[in-house]
């Protein structure tokens, strides 16, 4: 955000004119957060979560590249599964902040890659989150498709993938070592102020 503020303040009116804003609504699916074995295998994963993302970007250079910040919130139930039985473990919210680099790909398609952080907010400070919820480093990539709908607005369809490595203080205290690779995929649609 600081970078974006600096860029805007440096370029003032010109930068503001070139700034793209967007908002997206969609759903995010998350892979397994935790794989444990007590007697049978136990897995923990969130359900598919509705998500809201807001972002902004500025051009860098003449070849269509842009740099931007994007924040997203998602909220879903999460559950453990053991021997075919699911147990509701409450609600798990996530917030992500990504610094993105994006560029043109083909016609209305654009690519993007990003680095940032992901914060977990469980509804209950209990179980695997008994000692709190972590902030994890997040890396992501995605594909955007834009279709003009109004003079200054595009319909934005986004397919995103990101991953991070998951653990918590409670898990570390219990003797879990290393971390779990967690992949997330989201599909969303939204409106973007035109960058044409």
């Amino acid at each position: 955000m600081l970078l974006l503020v600096l860029l805007v303040s440096a370029g003032a009116a010109k930068a503001e004119a070139q700034m793209e804003y967007y908002g997206r609504l969609g759903a995010v699916g998350t892979g397994i957060l935790l794989r444990d074995v007590i007697v049978e295998e136990i897995t923990v994963r969130p359900s598919i979560a509705p998500m809201l993302a807001l972002g902004a970007s500025l051009p860098i250079g003449p070849r269509g590249y842009r740099v931007g910040l994007e924040g997203a919130l998602a909220s879903a139930k999460f559950h453990s599964s053991e021997d075919g039985t699911d147990t509701d473990l409450g609600t798990l919210r996530t917030g992500t902040l990504l610094l993105n680099l994006e560029g043109p790909l083909h016609r209305s398609f654009r690519w993007r890659v990003g680095l940032g952080g992901l914060k977990y907010w469980p509804s209950d400070k209990d179980g695997i989150f008994r000692q709190g919820a972590p902030v994890r480093l997040l890396a992501g990539a995605g594909l955007d498709y834009r279709r003009p709908v109004l003079s200054k607005w595009d319909l934005l369809t986004s397919l995103r993938y990101d991953f991070h490595r998951f653990t918590t203080e409670e898990l570390k205290d219990r003797g879990f070592s290393q971390t779990q690779g967690v992949s997330r995929v989201s599909l969303s649609v939204g409106l973007s102020r035109s960058i044409r």
């Binding site: 935790l34 794989r35 444990d36 074995v37 007590i38 007697v39 049978e40 136990i42 923990v44 453990s80 053991e82 039985t85 147990t87 509701d88 473990l89 209990d126 179980g127 695997i128 008994r130 890396a139 991953f163 490595r165 998951f166 653990t167 409670e170 898990l171 219990r174 003797g175 879990f176 070592s177 290393q178 971390t179 779990q180 690779g181 992949s183």
Partner: protein, 230 residues
């Protein structure tokens, strides 16, 4: 290195970072929790293992307002809850004793004729406890309620009584959640003559494992309704 090779290498690095699982601890530091009783079908022993089914959680506990039980019982529940990562066990204090799954009273346990199985009392100096289980003759059913007794057998002003009541309540709560035997290690709160004030890692690991092995005792409600085994 050409462009495709660079992208391939980058892709492989990303894939390697994204893959890989957390390494699970091996739970081997637990003790015998089952109740070993003479078999009803012939020579030898029967081993009874029990945990509260998820459909009955939170376990409803009625607590008498005496012997510091209203404070000690929630503390005991919280102490045992730390064993669980996946909401395997929970309990809540309720106001209506007629619908409770567990009745906790202050005072000495009544005669043994009341119940078929009494888990041996904790024998701290200033107080003692007992947990009574009404188990059917064929060892297949646990009739509710489970009854727990905490007896402050010394002078109410005796030094150490408050600590004794607290640790004995935690010990008996261990029986309530399914540890139906005593530990042979003095540093465990489920040791018969417990002295420690909180569940040890062995206690917690035992409590955790119990909820991941099949029970062979089925709950029967006060109205005779059976709660299926998991």
């Amino acid at each position: 290195m050409n462009r495709y090779a660079r992208w391939t290498i980058a892709g492989l690095i990303v894939a390697a970072a994204a893959c890989g699982d957390i390494a699970t601890p091996i739970r081997i530091d637990f003790y015998e929790w089952r109740l070993i009783v003479p078999s009803t079908t012939g020579p030898g022993n029967d081993s009874l293992t029990f945990h509260w089914p998820r459909s009955r959680l939170p376990v409803r506990i009625w607590v008498e307002d005496a012997a510091n039980l209203p404070a000690n019982v929630p503390s005991a529940i919280a102490a045992w809850r730390t064993a669980y990562l996946y909401d395997e066990f929970d309990a809540a204090v309720v106001s209506d004793s007629s619908t409770a799954d567990v009745i906790v009273r202050a005072g000495a346990a009544p005669g043994i004729q009341f119940s078929r199985v009494r888990l041996p009392s904790a024998m701290a100096t200033e107080c003692e406890g007992a947990t009574d289980l009404d188990i059917s003759d064929d060892h297949t059913e646990l009739r509710l309620p489970v009854r727990m007794y905490i007896d402050p057998r010394s002078d109410p002003a005796a030094p150490g009584l408050a600590a004794c009541l607290a640790l004995t309540t935690t010990h008996e709560m261990g029986h309530v959640l399914g540890i139906w035997s005593h530990s042979a290690v003095a540093t465990d709160i489920m040791f018969a003559e417990e002295t420690v004030t909180a569940p040890s890692e062995r206690d917690l690991e035992t409590a955790e494992v119990i909820y991941h092995v099949p029970a062979n005792i089925q709950i029967v409600d006060r109205d005779g309704g059976e709660v299926p085994l998991e």
